[in-house]
């Protein structure tokens, strides 16, 4: 009988190793040398920015400026105006003035502008990807391979709808609402802009958009693209600022539609503000998604899905799979595999093409993640992170895993919005569904099983707007996205996304 080949036994005489393996950084034989994308590819960043109103870059009526920093270096990138109520008023007036002509254009003409914008975004995608990475802290691999392709795809997709609205299922010749006031978050600055602006313009609305106060730069660069595309003046207006600017926009009496993506407390405040007016409102808020792994799951792919679910974009994702629900019978196997995989995550310079996890967007967010994880430990959950060195400056957080988490822990209930995964277990499918639904949120969920009938059984019982099966954090402009319960209402994307901008 053949003897087994133990680990120590190599072929009789193995060929010599390379004479002197070049470049052998610590941490393994095959360390990757730095592969930095050039920051210069971001193009010129002005030292200060005003607003984009009526097709022009204009100064704010106020004198207060805010600063946006590179979260990986803490260096100030630019100053930008803190929009005042007067600025918002000018922008809404410009949008109102543009609305008459824009909404009267045949859909096929509006489509031409949107197609043009989509193509320019593709042509300038490297520039935009680098700029986004610098301003937000997210790795260039993601801005390059995820954000920018999706941004362009969104404009292409809604460009296609502009002259086909009669067939969208909202009756013949559906009408736009008027001026849309849109407030977006910092986690996907350009992608959230695309989700807001593309359907609004396709349906014939004009917009005033306020980007997040930590990430205004790609929205301002998008304003340049609108000019490059020859978009009529006032159709898109960008007013930068903080929460007070956003509040002025959503409260403005001449705004017909309010669209907000961000935290649940702010969403609730906006809902109160808008209540009793004729404004149409869509809200895309927080989440605490359950990623459910059954014992018959494809384990290696489930591990990838878990990693992608919570560590994608540093976990700054409203639909992040922040609660892992794993069937007890495969818990050990799965967690071993997950920890091994987390050990290969590369945390560091967002502009390095091999970085998997970049910088936390702001000191404020880092403090919130730190506070919640400290609470997790204090409440008795067990914390684990792979060994990894963090840069000296900037805002960073290790990918983190909590085991021994129960539903009563804060880290199982509250949205952390960082690279922190809480692991809970279940015994039966019923228990999995009960725990998954036991949250005030309901934005997304994931199911991992090789059994098709179990996917359908589970999905039909989950109260979440998006349910992914054997994948996670997959986005597509053709697919509607939105939440249940405190995750908001209204849908973005797909045919459904048109409804939010039509008078139906």
């Amino acid at each position: 009988m053949a003897k087994n080949t133990k680990k120590t036994e190599a072929p009789a005489a193995a060929p010599q190793a390379p004479a002197e393996p070049a470049g052998k950084p610590a941490g393994g034989l095959f360390g990757y040398a730095p592969a930095p994308e050039s920051p210069a590819a971001a193009g010129d960043i002005a030292s200060s920015y005003g607003h984009f109103i009526g097709g022009q870059f204009v100064d704010s009526s106020g004198s207060e400026a805010l600063k946006t920093v590179n979260p990986a270096t803490e260096q100030v990138l630019a100053e930008f105006a803190r929009g005042t109520a007067e600025d918002v008023d000018r922008a809404v007036a410009a949008a109102r003035a543009a609305f008459t002509d824009w909404s009267a254009l045949p859909g096929s003409e509006r489509a031409k502008y949107l197609f043009r914008i989509a193509r320019i975004i593709q042509e300038r995608s490297r520039e935009l990807a680098v700029l986004e990475s610098i301003d937000n802290g997210k790795p260039i691999r993601e801005t390059r391979d995820v954000d920018l392709p999706l941004v362009a795809a969104h404009f292409f997709y809604y460009a296609g709808w502009a002259d086909k609205l009669d067939f969208a299922g909202y009756g013949p010749n559906p009408k736009p609402l008027g001026v849309a006031g849109q407030v977006i978050p910092w986690n996907f600055p350009l992608l959230m802009l695309a989700w807001k602006i593309a359907p609004a313009l396709a349906t014939g609305n004009t917009v005033v958009l306020k980007p997040a106060e930590t990430t205004p730069l790609t929205a301002l660069r998008f304003a340049e693209i609108c000019r490059q595309a020859g978009l009529p003046k006032g159709v898109v207006n960008i007013v930068t600022g903080d929460g007070s600017t956003g509040a002025a926009l959503t409260a403005h009496p001449d705004v017909n539609k309010v669209a907000f993506t961000g935290s649940t407390p702010v969403g609730r405040a906006i809902a109160k503000q808008v209540a009793g007016t004729r404004k149409k409102l869509s809200l895309e808020l927080g989440g605490k998604a359950a990623n459910i792994v059954f014992d018959d799951a494809p384990i290696d792919q489930a591990v990838e899905g878990i990693v992608n679910g919570i560590f994608f974009n540093q976990g700054h994702v409203c639909c992040a799979g922040s609660r892992l629900l794993v069937q007890e019978s495969v818990q050990d196997e799965l967690l071993d595999a997950l920890k091994r995989r987390m050990g290969t995550l590369r945390v560091g310079d967002p502009l390095d093409k091999n970085t998997d996890i970049g910088a936390i967007n702001s000191a404020e967010q880092l403090a919130r993640i730190t506070a919640l994880t400290d609470a997790g430990e204090a409440e008795g959950a067990e914390r684990w992170s792979p060994a990894c060195e963090l840069p000296g400056t900037g805002f960073w957080f290790r990918p983190t895993l909590f085991t021994g988490v129960s539903q009563a822990h804060r880290i199982a209930q509250e949205e952390i919005f960082g690279p922190v995964l809480s692991v809970l277990t279940f015994r039966t499918p019923d228990e999995a569904v009960a725990k998954a639904n036991n949250t005030p949120y309901g934005l997304s969920a994931g199911i991992w099983t090789e059994k098709g009938s179990r996917i359908l059984w589970t999905a039909s019982r989950l109260r979440a707007g998006v349910v992914w099966a054997n994948t996670f954090n997959k986005f597509d402009p053709t697919s509607p996205f939105g939440g249940y319960k405190e995750s908001g209402y209204g849908r973005e994307g797909g045919r459904h996304g048109l409804e939010a901008y039509l008078d139906v």
Binding site: A2, A10, P15, P18, A19, N470
Partner: protein
């Protein structure tokens, strides 16, 4: 046959000794392995393919890749002259730069083993021989065993056998298993040592990823030293997802049994960029333990010259061209 099957080689003490005791137990085990999600596996392989390997890391990886090549000629038109030329190329891949590593092995048909062996005398380059009615494997077992024994007798250091895909696809797993065990036995030399056994699955014919995971475990249970994707003779040969899956299989097999098995993707890997992607997969799936020619090989012929051109570029800073590397 059952005497062979009753003894799963290589897995003593792992609790897997009885897996191949019967057709039913082997089937139960193989079908109980975790499934493979096609979309997820392909996405992971594609993401690893976006790693950017530059400067010092690239230099290291190029030299490592050269040292992992099984430089191959498997043609009906092979001659003694052709094989000798290939052996010379393997010994001195780049005559202009003596720091260039040698390849791991020269891979030939059994009747060329003696020629290759003679041409490589004095080096540690291995001679690998395909066997078992390569590439189709459609011959009776005694023929396959004679084919193997002939190559071993001629001095082959390594045997690249093909499995019986027909038996596998019709669910006769135990037949496949027993055949591997028998071929391994035919690799035994008079002095009691064994030629190293690589088991070729022809994954392009097995089609599904679930099949690839099952056949990987089957071959490892039967005593394979290496598992290899393809013959290079069918339409679909090595692909990154198939190789990634096999890397996961050897990782899991070692965790279960303590036995380490090598992996060899073969066919269709032609460029340095391709080779980098495979090495990244090894690095991030298995790590240092497999980053050597003992445990990972490329079955390739044209890959070597592309690696040499990229190596010259790194050394000199200039791209040369295909006439600055030797064509053998």
């Amino acid at each position: 046959m059952s005497t062979l099957a009753a003894n799963a080689p290589g897995v003593a003490g792992s609790g897997l000794e009885d897996v191949a005791a019967s057709e039913a137990s082997l089937r139960r085990f193989l079908h109980g392995l975790p499934g493979v999600d096609q979309v997820g596996l392909e996405a992971r392989a594609a993401t690893l393919g976006t790693r950017s390997i530059k400067t010092t890391a690239k230099a290291y990886a190029i030299d490592l890749a050269i040292s992992m090549i099984d430089l191959t000629t498997l043609e009906g038109a092979d001659t003694v002259g052709k094989v000798r030329a290939l052996c010379t190329k393997g010994r001195t891949p780049d005559p202009t730069d003596p720091t260039t590593p040698r390849v791991a092995a020269i891979c030939v048909y059994p009747d060329m083993v003696a020629t290759a062996k003679a041409a490589l005398r004095g080096t540690d380059i291995q001679v690998a021989s395909v066997a078992t009615a390569f590439p189709a494997g459609r011959a009776a077992l005694p023929v396959k065993l004679a084919d193997t024994a002939d190559a071993v007798a001629a001095g082959a250091d390594e045997i690249d056998m093909v499995i019986d895909r027909g038996a596998f696809l019709s669910g006769r797993y135990l037949d496949v298993y027993n055949e591997i065990v028998a071929v391994k036995e035919a690799c035994r030399r008079p002095d009691g040592s064994y030629a190293h056994l690589k088991v070729i699955f022809e994954t392009g014919e097995l089609q599904t990823y679930d099949n690839v995971r099952r056949v990987s475990w089957l071959a490892m249970l039967a005593g394979a030293d290496f598992i290899k994707t393809s013959t290079g003779k069918v339409a679909v040969n090595a692909t990154p997802p198939v190789t990634l899956l096999m890397l996961e299989a050897v990782r899991d097999f070692r965790a279960a049994t303590g036995v380490q098995v090598g992996v060899k993707p073969a066919g269709g890997i032609k460029t340095t960029k391709d080779a980098m992607k495979y090495l990244v997969m090894v690095n991030e799936t298995l790590g240092d333990d497999w980053l050597s020619p003992h445990w990972f090989r490329f079955g390739a012929s044209s890959l070597l010259n592309d690696l040499l051109m990229q190596r010259q570029k790194l050394t000199t800073g200039r791209y040369s061209g295909p006439d600055y590397v030797t064509v053998d």
